[in-house]
Symmetry: C2
Subunit: 659 residues, 2 copies
C-alpha cells in the first residue's frame, strides 16, 4: 500500500445495499436493463462479431460476413460483462452466470494466438493493427476487456476472462514502447492496467499504464497518423467516413491540436480540462491510479488542480460535463449552454470514477460530495424509469424534442450506466490507509463488514435520501475499538445534527449553506466503538442557485435544488410554456415539498408560486410599454431533473427565469 | 383614379428634403454609395454580362466568356439605375446622368429582338428560357428593369429605358397566359407592371399583374417544375448547385409546399404571412396596387388582415421581418429569436413599399407609422455610416461576430437601400383622393408644392426627428382654401401638442403611450389655410418595451425605445458582457438622454443605471445559493440600434435582461 493513498474504498463484495430509493433501481438494472442490453448485443451483431472473428481465426472461413456495428462495439460487450460480474459479486444468479460464461467463451475464442483481440480488425483489416491509434480504439477496447476481466475475477474468483485479458495486456506490453511508441486516441487502458496490476500483483502493468500517461502529449504519433490517414485502418472500410472525419476534430484552425484527446501537452503542463470529456475522465481516473501506485505527489496535486479547473468553470449544475456535441467536449470556461448541453452520460460516469480515486488519494470530502451529486443528477437521468431507454447526451433545457432512446449506434452509455449501478456498493464506505478511520461517503441504506484498526466492524445504515436527510448507522464491533467515523456533511445540507447513542454531538464543522456546490467536509466522531448508534439529520431545504455571472446562458436565471437533487420544470406538470414562469428566490425557497407516491413511482415535488405575464394585457399587441403589462401569480410544479422525460413529451427547463 | 385609393403620395419630384438628420445621409447615399455600388457592378461582372450578351446577340461571338456572378445579377444593375434615377429626379448631376445613360445603353443592347432580356440566359442557357420559374428569376429581373425604367422616365422624361421595359413587358405578356401559364418564383413583377401601366396608361399591364396575382397558388406549375428540375435551366450550369438546392426549400416533409414563395394557396386563402419575406413584401405591395387599379375591396381587406398577422405575431421590435436564415423566411407566430434573427434589409425595404400602398389605399396612419419605425430601425441599420458596408441580415443580438460587409454574392440589399433612400421624398406627404386633405406622414425637414382642393399649397417643414419631437410646418396657399391637414401622431409619442399660428389646438385624439407599436392615428386640422404656421411637439420619452409573453427569446427582457428609435447596448460603450446588465423598467425610463455630437457623427445616447452581479461574491464558485449573491449598480450606455457596428466590433443586444 502506497503512502499516497489516503483511504481505500470498501469493496463491493463486502457491502449489501438495502435502500428504499435504490433497491428498485438496482433490481431493474439487474433484471431488466442487463437482459435488455444483452439482447441488443445480440441483435446489433456485437456478439456475432466475436463468433465470426473466431471462425476466421480458426482459418475455417471468412465468408460468414464481416463486422457489424460501430468499429469499437467490442467494448459494449465488455462493459456488459463488467456490469454482470458486479451483479454476480453480490448474488447467485445462475442464469446470468451461465450467460456471462457464454459471452466469455465467445470473447476468448476471438483472441488471436499472439494475444491480440479486436473483432473489427480480425474481420475487416487484419493487416492494419495499431496503425490508427487516434480513431480505431484498439487500446480503448482492450481497457474495457481488462476492466471486465478484473471485475469478473473479483466477483467469481474465476480466471478464464482474466487470462484472456492478461494475454492481451502482455501483447500490448510487447508492442508498445518496443515496436511502437504511441498512446491511445481514446484513453481507458491506463485505469484498466492498474486494476490488472492489482488483480495479478504484476507491477509491469503499472509501468505500462505509466508509460501511456507519461508519453501523452510528448510524442507526435497522433499528429503524424493524421497526416497519412488515408493509408490507415478505418479509412476505406468505414462507409460513413468516421475514421476520416475524425481527423477534422483533431485540427484547430487547420493545424493538428491534440486537445480533443488531451494530447496537446504533457499532463503536468495541461492547465485546464480540455477535449472529449469521456476521454478526459477515464484518463484522469487512470492517472490517479498511476499516481497512487507510483507515489507521485506532483501528479496528484496537478490532478486536483485540473479538478478545480473543471468544477469551478466547466461543469453543469447537475455535475454533467462537456458542453458541446461537436467533439463531445469541454469548450471554454463558463460556456455552459442549456438547450444544447451535451453532458454525456458516460462523461458523468467517468467523473464518478475519477472522483472516487481523488477521494481515495486525498481523503477530501469534496470528491465524495460530487460523486453523490453526479449520481443523482447526471447519471440516473441517463436511464428511463423502466430501464430500457437511455439518454446519451443530456440537455438542461429542452423544447420537447429531446428524448431517451432504446439504443444507439455508439452504445457506450447504456452498459456504462449498468456497470456503475451494479457497482454502487463500492462508493459507500472507505477505510483510512494510515489512520484508524471509517469514512461514510454515501448515504445509502446498506450493511457492510469492514476491518478498521484491526477490528471487524459491522455497519448497518438506513437513509432517507434523496427525499429526506435522516440517516442512522448501527455500529457493531466485535472487540471495542477506538477509531474515527467520518461522516460526509453534504454541501447541500442547510443544517446538520449528529447524535451518538441518543446524545447530541457538537459538530466540529458548520454546514455552510452559503458555500458553493461540492464543498463538503467530514465530521469525524472519535471514540471507542462497540455497539453504538449514530443518528444524523442533514437538513434539506429548497435552495435556489445562481450560476457564476460569466455563464451567459444562466444570466437572470435560478435553478432549484433540494438536498442532493437538482429540480426542473416539465411541461406535463405546468400549464404555461416554461419561459413564462418568473420565479423569485424567496418564493422558491418556500415552495411546498411533498412526497407523492402516485407520481413517477414516488418523488418529492416542489410546488410553488411563480409570476407570469398577464395575457389580459395583450390582445393583439406584439410589443407594449413595460408599464402597461402586468404579472399574475402562476403556480408551478418542479420535479427532480433525473426523472424528466418519463411521461408525456414536452418542454423541460432546469434554469428558470428569475423574477 | 379609382375609388379604392384613399390618398396619393406627393411624388418625389415635388419634394425637396432639407433635414439635419437626413441631409448627410442622402448626400452620402448619392455621392458615396451610388459610386461605390457602380464600381461593384463593374468589378463583379454585372455590367460586363450586359456587354457580353450584346455581343452574343449580335452574332459576333460567344467567346468573350460566360456569365459572371449570381444568375439574377441583372437586377442589381436595374436597382442601381432606379436609385440613380431618383437622384436625377431632384438634382442635375451631369456625371451621374452620363453614367446612367451608359448603363441604359448596355441594357438596351442586351435585349433580344423579341424583347427578351436576361443576360444569364443569353450567355448560359439560351434554349431554356422560362423553364424554371421557381428559381431562375427572369420575371423578378424583369420587374426590376421595369421599375428602373419607370423611375428613369419619371425622373428625366426620357423614354429610352422605358421602351426597353415596354418591349420586355410586351414579350412577357405574349408568353404568359398564352404559351405558358405560370407565376414567378420570386415576385416583384406585379408591382412593376402596375407602375408601367401608370407610366404608359396601358391597362393591359394591370391585367398581366392581375393574372400573376390571381394564378398564384392555383396552378401546379411550380410543383411540376421541381419534379423535373434536372431538365431545367440552372440545374447543370450552376456549379454551386443553387438551382438544384432550391428545390429543398420548396419541400416540407418530402412534399411540395409552395409557402416559401407564397404559392401554397390562392391569395385570398392565405391567412398568415408565410415564406421568403422579401417575396412576400414585394408581392403584397404588388397586390395592393392591383387591388387599387381593379377596385378590389376584398383583396384590400385581405391584405390588411395579412398585415395584422405579420405585425401582431411575426415582426421584430425593429420592424424587421423574417426570422430564419433558412429560406430567409417567416417561420411561426411569435418565433422571433434575437441572435439568429434574419430580418433581411431587403425585407424591411419591401415592408416600406407595402405599407406605403396600404396607407394610400386606406388612409390608415398605422401604415405610415410602421414605415417610419422600419426606416429608422430596420432599413438604416443596413448601411454603415460611411455608406460602403451593408448588413444583408440583421441580428437583434450579436456575440460580436456579425458585421456589415462590403458586398455580397447576392447583392440585393445595397442597391435596395440606395433606391429607398434616394426616393425618401415620396413618403412624406400625400393628398386625399376624394377629400380635401393633406397628409403629413413623415416628419422630415423639407419643402413641397402640392395641389389640394384645386389650390397650390407650399409646405415647408422643419423637424427635430429622430433626436427630438418638435416639428414646424409653414403653409402658404396662393388662394386661401379650406382643407384638412392630417398630422400623423406617432405611436411612440407619449404626449403631443399642436399649435396653429401660436394658438394651442385641442387634439381630437389622445396619444396613448399604453398602446402597442404602430397604432398611430391622424389629428386633422380643418380650416381655411392661407399663410399659416403649425407647430407640433411629439414628446419623446424613454419607453421600455416588453414583447408578447409567447415570444420565448424575450421572456424576462425589455427593449429600450425613445421616439422612433429602438436602442441597443454595444460592447464598446459598456464594461461588462452585456448579459450581466439587469435593467429595471423604472430605472430605464429615467435614463439620461444626451445628444452627443462626438459620438457616431452625432446621436442621442441613453445613460442609465442597471444592476449587475457582484463579482466579490464569487471567488472560485461556479454555483451559489441565490441568497449568498448580491448585485451592484452598473451604469450602462445605449445607442440607437441602427448605429451599431460602426465602431470596435463586439457584443450587441436590443433585448436586455430585466431586473
Amino acid at each position: 500500500m502506497t503512502t499516497l493513498r489516503h483511504a481505500r474504498s470498501v469493496p463491493l463484495a463486502d457491502v449489501t445495499i438495502d435502500d428504499e430509493f435504490w433497491n428498485s433501481r438496482l433490481e431493474r438494472n439487474r433484471e431488466v436493463s442487463l437482459e435488455y442490453q444483452y439482447d441488443h448485443l445480440e441483435t446489433t451483431g456485437c456478439l456475432e462479431n466475436f463468433r465470426r472473428a473466431a471462425t476466421v481465426l480458426n482459418g475455417r472461413a471468412d465468408d460468414r460476413g464481416g463486422f457489424q456495428g460501430i468499429w469499437f462495439a467490442d467494448s459494449d460487450a465488455y462493459k456488459w460483462l463488467e456490469a454482470a460480474s458486479y451483479v454476480l459479486a453480490r448474488r447467485d444468479e445462475p442464469e446470468l452466470r451461465r450467460r456471462v460464461d457464454e459471452v466469455i467463451d465467445l470473447v476468448a475464442a476471438a483472441q488471436d494466438d499472439d494475444g491480440y483481440l479486436n473483432t473489427y480488425f480480425v474481420l475487416e483489416e487484419p493487416g492494419k493493427r495499431w496503425t490508427n491509434l487516434n480513431t480505431m480504439h484498439e487500446l480503448y477496447c482492450g481497457g474495457h476487456l481488462i476492466e471486465a476481466a478484473v471485475a469478473h475475477h473479483w466477483a467469481t474468483g474465476e480466471r478464464d476472462l482474466l487470462e484472456v485479458a492478461i494475454r492481451f495486456a502482455d501483447h500490448i506490453d510487447s508492442i508498445f514502447g518496443d515496436e511502437i511508441d504511441g498512446v491511445p486516441g481514446h484513453q481507458g487502458i491506463e485505469l484498466a492496467l492498474v486494476k490488472l496490476a492489482r488483480a495479478t500483483d504484476e507491477d509491469r502493468y503499472v509501468d505500462l499504464a505509466r508509460y501511456f500517461v507519461d508519453l501523452r502529449g510528448r510524442d507526435d504519433r497522433l499528429a503524424r497518423e493524421l497526416e497519412r490517414i488515408d493509408e490507415l485502418a478505418g479509412y476505406e472500410s468505414d462507409e460513413e467516413g468516421i475514421a476520416a472525419g475524425a481527423r477534422d476534430i483533431f485540427y484547430e484552425d487547420g493545424a493538428y491540436d491534440g486537445s480533443y484527446a488531451q494530447a496537446h501537452a504533457p499532463v503536468l503542463e495541461q492547465t485546464s480540462v480540455e477535449g472529449h470529456s469521456v476521454r478526459a475522465m477515464y484518463f484522469f481516473a487512470g492517472i490517479a491510479e498511476v499516481a497512487a501506485e507510483t507515489d507521485d505527489e506532483e501528479l496528484l496535486a496537478h490532478l486536483e488542480h485540473l479538478w478545480e479547473s473543471m468544477t469551478e468553470r466547466r461543469t453543469y449544475v447537475t455535475g454533467g460535463i462537456g458542453s458541446s456535441a461537436y467533439g463531445e467536449r469541454f469548450t471554454e470556461d463558463y460556456d455552459l449552454p442549456n438547450d444544447t448541453a451535451y453532458a454525456e452520460t458516460c462523461a458523468a460516469i467517468g467523473s464518478v470514477f475519477w472522483n472516487q480515486r481523488l477521494f481515495e488519494l486525498t481523503g477530501n470530502a469534496r470528491y465524495a460530495d460530487l460523486i453523490e451529486w453526479t449520481l443523482y443528477n447526471a447519471v440516473l437521468v441517463g436511464m428511463s424509469q423502466d430501464g430500457t431507454e437511455f439518454f446519451y447526451d443530456n440537455r438542461l433545457e429542452s423544447d420537447g424534442d429531446h428524448h431517451r432512446e432504446g439504443w444507439f449506434e455508439c452504445a457506450c452509455c447504456p452498459p456504462n450506466v449498468a456497470r456503475l449501478l451494479a457497482s454502487l456498493g463500492e462508493y459507500l464506505y472507505a477505510v483510512g490507509s494510515e489512520e484508524a478511520q471509517l469514512y461514510v461517503n454515501q448515504y445509502v441504506g446498506s450493511s457492510a463488514t469492514v476491518e478498521v484498526a484491526g477490528s471487524a466492524v459491522d455497519i448497518t445504515q438506513t437513509a432517507e435520501l434523496p427525499w429526506g436527510g435522516d440517516v442512522s448507522l448501527e455500529i457493531d464491533v466485535a472487540v471495542p475499538t477506538e477509531f474515527g467515523i467520518s461522516l460526509r456533511v453534504p454541501s447541500w445540507c442547510t443544517d446538520a445534527a449528529v447524535r451518538v447513542n441518543g446524545e447530541e454531538r457538537a459538530l466540529d464543522i458548520e454546514p455552510e449553506p452559503g458555500t458553493g456546490r461540492w464543498t463538503a467536509d467530514y465530521v469525524t466522531l472519535e471514540r471507542e466503538w462497540d455497539d453504538d448508534r449514530i443518528e444524523v439529520s442533514f437538513e434539506q431545504s429548497v435552495v435556489p442557485i445562481r450560476a457564476h455571472p460569466a455563464v451567459e446562458a444562466n444570466a437572470g436565471r435560478i435553478a432549484l435544488t433540494r438536498g442532493p437533487l437538482v429540480y426542473c420544470l416539465e411541461a406535463v406538470d405546468n400549464d404555461r410554456p416554461l419561459h413564462q414562469y418568473l420565479i423569485g428566490p424567496e418564493s422558491a425557497s418556500t415552495a411546498d415539498t411533498t412526497y407523492r407516491d402516485d407520481l413517477l413511482r414516488g418523488t418529492v415535488v416542489l410546488e410553488g408560486e411563480a409570476m407570469a405575464p398577464d395575457f389580459e394585457d395583450w390582445d393583439d399587441d406584439l410589443y407594449l410599454p413595460a408599464t402597461e403589462t402586468n404579472r399574475v401569480a402562476a403556480p408551478f410544479i418542479a420535479i427532480p431533473h433525473f426523472l424528466w422525460d418519463n411521461r408525456a413529451p414536452g418542454e423541460m427547463a432546469v434554469w428558470l427565469r428569475e423574477d
